[in-house]
Symmetry: C2
Subunit: 272 residues, 2 copies
């Protein structure tokens, strides 16, 4: 049975498209969920975007992305706070209930120091997020990004960080691409769910061999991740939200994006 | 004080060279330790290699590499056993006391299944290794290699596997490139040392940004790994062996390899 009611696409998955293309083409393809990447909102008036979203019946699942808190330089840490406050405004304006946090890492200091600054940064923006009714979702990133993108690299670290901050507005994103290899993933997903902190679920696949650190993600089924198994863990943990397709792929970006949407739908049906 | 008594170079670090070049040039540069990669022994009579090693006063630290045990196909698993038995013979012939195991992973089955087959494989070859007086060192590989190179991706997993096999001849390699990001690294290095299983220590660096999954390793000091800190942990764990330089780098392979040896020596002095 073709049920796309929980399917969400990240706008970065169809990178060649602008925000209007994404909204109209997703909607036409019968997709109801969209996670908006902020690059598409740069120098944009958000009001017509919101109108288009509403008129198309699209539900905004998350805004991607806030975070990037750590820096050896105080000025840059302050700039990151300001950028996150802007993200909260944007999330509010487009109706996104959640901001995904790619936490950041500065290779000029230790991972421990970066993690401290991440906790400080989240704590700083939290009151503003709460007053805007926006939740913050910590996304643990694959260890290959520890040097420059995130010092939070496992589900355990993300759970520990969320527990430290201890707010109903701060939770965790489970992304199979980043986490599939981790032997403690199952128990940490259950722990996350038990604490009511499993805010989002992202899918793509790990190509074998992987040829690029950033833009060689596979479509679900292309690679070696047991997505149905991890989905079952997430659902056992009580998650009933959207299943978000986030594929960075030079290969797929070169193809016709409307045909690609159909491929995504087919892949989605195959694992759900 | 220039002390290179614990410096060892992996032959793959100077990839353009054959085995004779490696031995003669390392020796001339005042380097006493060599870890031999098996690609340099293919279709070679090992006896003259051993003679050259002895005449040059070189100490063979390890043979790289055995392993690659898992496969969905029984024939391939048997072929891997035979290949590992050949590695044991080669190690014995060149006087290498240790074989580094890159354990393998077959993306057509679960990581758990691959790990079972790794344990089986090591157990199968262990009696032959023991009778040849060769130790086997499990090398946990970075999680970005979980799909095709190793289903053992953290120090904890390697320690657990070695504890399961529980032989004085089976231990673990600490390689900073694979492990630097892991928040449990310190405690697991201490555990490894306490159990007398810390068999080898490999160094290189993590470039920021990293541009390639395989051949963009940095020379020590190029990247973001706190190598002196991890070295201090390894030494606190009782390790007194060679410090092995294992850098896969398209960038450095394009340069004059004798000049590169001097760069390596300089980098070595800077962190030891």
């Amino acid at each position: 049975m073709k049920d796309f009611s929980r399917l969400c696409i990240h706008t970065f998955t169809t990178r060649p498209w602008g925000i209007e293309d994404c909204i109209m083409n997703y909607s036409r393809a019968g997709i109801r969920g969209i996670t908006i990447w902020r690059n598409l909102l740069e120098r944009k008036n958000v009001i017509p975007v919101k109108t288009l979203l509403d008129n198309s019946g699209m539900k905004v699942v998350s805004l991607c992305r806030g975070g990037f808190f750590p820096s050896v330089t105080k000025d840059r840490r302050e700039a990151a706070i300001n950028d996150n406050l802007q993200a909260i405004e944007q999330a509010h304006a487009v109706g996104a209930p959640v901001i995904v946090l790619v936490c950041g890492s500065d290779s000029n200091q230790s991972l421990e120091k970066s993690r401290e600054q991440i906790a400080e940064g989240i704590t700083r923006i939290l009151p503003f997020a709460r007053s805007a009714g926006i939740k913050l979702a910590i996304e643990p990133l694959h260890p290959m990004y520890a040097g420059d993108r995130s010092a939070v690299n496992t589900m355990k670290q993300a759970n520990d960080l969320a527990a430290l901050i201890n707010s109903e507005s701060v939770g965790v994103v489970v992304d199979v691409y980043h986490l599939w290899w981790d032997p403690s993933l199952h128990e940490e997903i259950i722990r996350c769910g038990d604490q009511g902190r499993l805010f989002a679920f992202h899918v793509s696949d790990w190509n074998v061999p992987a040829t690029d650190l950033l833009n060689d993600r596979g479509l679900m089924g292309d690679g070696c991740i047991n997505i149905p198994l991890i989905l079952s863990w997430v659902e056992d943990a009580g998650f009933t939200g959207f299943i978000e397709v986030e594929v960075f792929s030079d290969k797929y970006w070169k193809t016709d994006q409307n045909a690609y949407l159909e491929k995504i739908k087919y892949a989605y049906l195959n694992f759900t």
